[in-house]
């Protein structure tokens, strides 16, 4: 199981005055069970890229393979692709529309042609996975808090039991605890069920903490495609692209400049603490 992009180009409004070359010769592979982070400045092509993954946008040129089969070939079952690759948009809570949470979450499986019982079973499962309490299942989505609505919306995608979950800034506007809870739940789902996760985020700290690999987009091109450790060693280049490294990475660079022999390819607080303790012991 994998998603493979070969020489993907995407041009918005081709042939008009508003023409914009949003993706330029993108080559990527996302393997089964990976947790991939996607970062990039506003307008770098991140959202355009992920909308290709479930066929919402069709590349102007290039090929996209899902499990080895080119999805652009004639007769490809797009409906199946869309139920295998679940896409959670930015501010997905704006898309809640049913009278109560349960019915809303059932909408996806219902469209997959499942029986009402199966829909309900899947919805229950998905709502549990995102940690929404049972007392809210019959509530109107509008009675929920921001974080709860977001969970309900993510559950709506999970209820279709996708193999790949793509999330476009799922934590924007959430409080710190809400951010940790949602990402923690997605990470444990990834671990427990082998769900492939593609996470788009502006929080370098979150990406560093959860992703195995980071794809850096810049003006429609893939600039880096590597482990967090390697990507964040390019923090100066990242800053030029409107990005940054996690705060701890900067601290390690500063400490090294001040003569403490720590390694600088550190991206999480735990690693940083380990490194600092080690360096101080060596000094004594």
């Amino acid at each position: 199981m994998s998603i493979k992009l070969e020489h993907i180009n995407y041009i918005y409004s081709e042939g008009t005055a508003y023409e914009k070359h949003a993706l330029k010769d993108v080559n990527l592979e996302i393997r089964d069970g990976e947790f991939v982070g996607v970062i990039g400045h506003t307008g770098s092509g991140k959202s355009t890229l992920i909308q290709h993954l479930n066929g919402l946008l069709k590349a102007s040129s290039g090929a996209l393979y899902f499990n080895g089969r080119n999805v652009y070939e004639e007769g490809y079952p797009m409906k199946e692709l869309r139920s295998q690759v679940g896409l959670v948009f930015q501010y997905p809570e704006y898309q809640l529309f049913e009278a109560d949470v349960m019915t809303d979450v059932c909408f996806g499986p219902k469209n997959q042609g499942l029986s009402p019982e199966e829909c309900k079973e899947r919805a229950m499962e998905a709502l549990k996975l995102v940690g929404l309490k049972e007392k809210y299942y019959q509530s109107s989505p509008f009675e929920l808090s921001g974080g709860q609505k977001r969970r309900a919306a993510i559950a709506g995608v999970l209820a279709m039991r996708p193999k790949v979950l793509v999330l476009d800034e799922p934590t924007a506007g959430l409080d710190p605890k809400g951010r940790d809870e949602i990402l923690g739940q997605i990470a444990s789902l990834h671990k427990a069920s082998g769900l492939t996760v593609i996470l788009v985020s502006h929080s370098m700290e979150d990406i560093a903490r959860y992703a195995d690999r980071i794809i850096v987009m810049d003006h429609g091109k893939v600039r880096y495609n590597d482990t967090p450790k390697h990507v964040f060693t390019h923090y100066m280049e990242l800053e030029k692209m409107g990005l940054a490294a996690p705060q701890v990475t900067y601290i390690m660079h500063d400490l090294r400049e001040h003569g403490l022999s720590v390694t600088t390819d550190v991206t999480t607080v735990e690693e940083a603490a380990d490194q600092i303790m080690q360096a101080l012991e060596m000094k004594q």
């Binding site: 400045h41 924007a172 506007g173 990005l243 601290i251 400490l255 003569g259 607080v269």
Partner: protein, 283 residues
């Protein structure tokens, strides 16, 4: 009198059923007393649903109190005759720049506010130029806003507020949708408005790193102010903040972790420079 003062502020939302009949009320703000002096940089933190945005909307009379009083530069926001004065004193910037920009050209958008205030045309252009300069966007004055980056759009939105020459700017999660550079741009702009124009800044955010330079932080929970103090006072209480669903900057977490492992590091470290100094000096 202070620029913003609230006394026992209470706000209740009406709960309605499907036909629109009121079925009850829910109290979003429950007895808030806050004083903000002219020129201060004040941050309001709190989890989703804690009441901070409802509070912010009281500062320029989008909402008026169910009980208690809000004075903006000495004017009671409940008094209908003061409405325009209140709105001119306290300008608001919201989360999504796309929802706040209405002009098709940057300078037109910025001129919209002062035009509505009835400012003479010559002065409008003068204000537009000054405000765009203040946010570092003057060179984009003839551009279309929809071609700008998120950070640039948000700076245009701020310029639109600045052009109305408010004494106070309220920013409700202005960086939630921005990339790291956009966040930096917006914060730098806000800081400059404060130092160069002595504008009072009230910043609501979920990013703890953004408030380390505040004069004062208020933490809200269930409509109450539950903590208030300087950033150092607030961020040295890691466990209490976590209880309110908040966090501390990453450098503060690291300092805390190192202290737990036995290093001699003071509490309430907020900047990476402080941690580097503490590590190089004492160990």
């Amino acid at each position: 009198m202070d620029i913003i003062q609230t006394e026992h502020l209470v706000y209740e939302y009406a709960k309605r059923d499907e036909e629109g009949n009121i079925t009850g009320t829910s109290r979003a703000i429950d007895g808030v007393d806050i004083d903000i002096r002219q020129g201060q940089f004040v941050a309001v933190l709190g989890h989703n649903g804690s009441g901070k945005s409802t509070f912010a909307k009281h500062l320029n009379a989008i909402l008026v109190p169910t009980a208690g009083t809000v004075w903006v530069d000495g004017k009671d926001t409940k008094a209908p005759e003061e409405l325009w004065n209140v709105r001119q004193t306290a300008g608001m910037v919201f989360q999504n720049p796309d929802n706040q920009i209405i002009g098709t050209v940057v300078e037109e958008d910025v001129g919209f506010g002062p035009e509505n205030l009835g400012v003479p045309t010559d002065e409008i252009w003068q204000r537009v130029e000054e405000s765009l300069k203040a946010v570092g966007m003057l060179e984009y004055r003839h551009h279309s806003p929809n071609k700008l980056s998120g950070g640039q759009k948000q700076r245009v939105a701020i310029a639109g507020v600045v052009a109305m020459e408010p004494k106070c700017i309220v920013l409700d999660e202005p960086t939630a949708m921005l990339d790291p550079s956009g966040r930096k741009e917006v914060l730098k702009t806000v800081q400059e408005l404060r130092t160069k124009k002595q504008v009072t800044v009230i910043l609501i955010t979920h990013y703890m790193e953004e408030v380390i330079d505040a004069d004062k932080i208020y933490v809200m929970d269930h409509g109450h102010v539950v903590m208030e103090g300087t950033p150092r006072e607030i961020f040295s209480q890691v466990d209490t903040l976590k209880k309110y669903r908040l966090d501390v900057p990453q450098v503060t977490i690291l300092a805390d972790e190192l202290r737990k492992r036995g290093l001699d590091i003071p509490a309430g470290i907020l900047r990476k420079e402080e941690l580097v100094e503490a590590l190089c000096r004492s160990n």
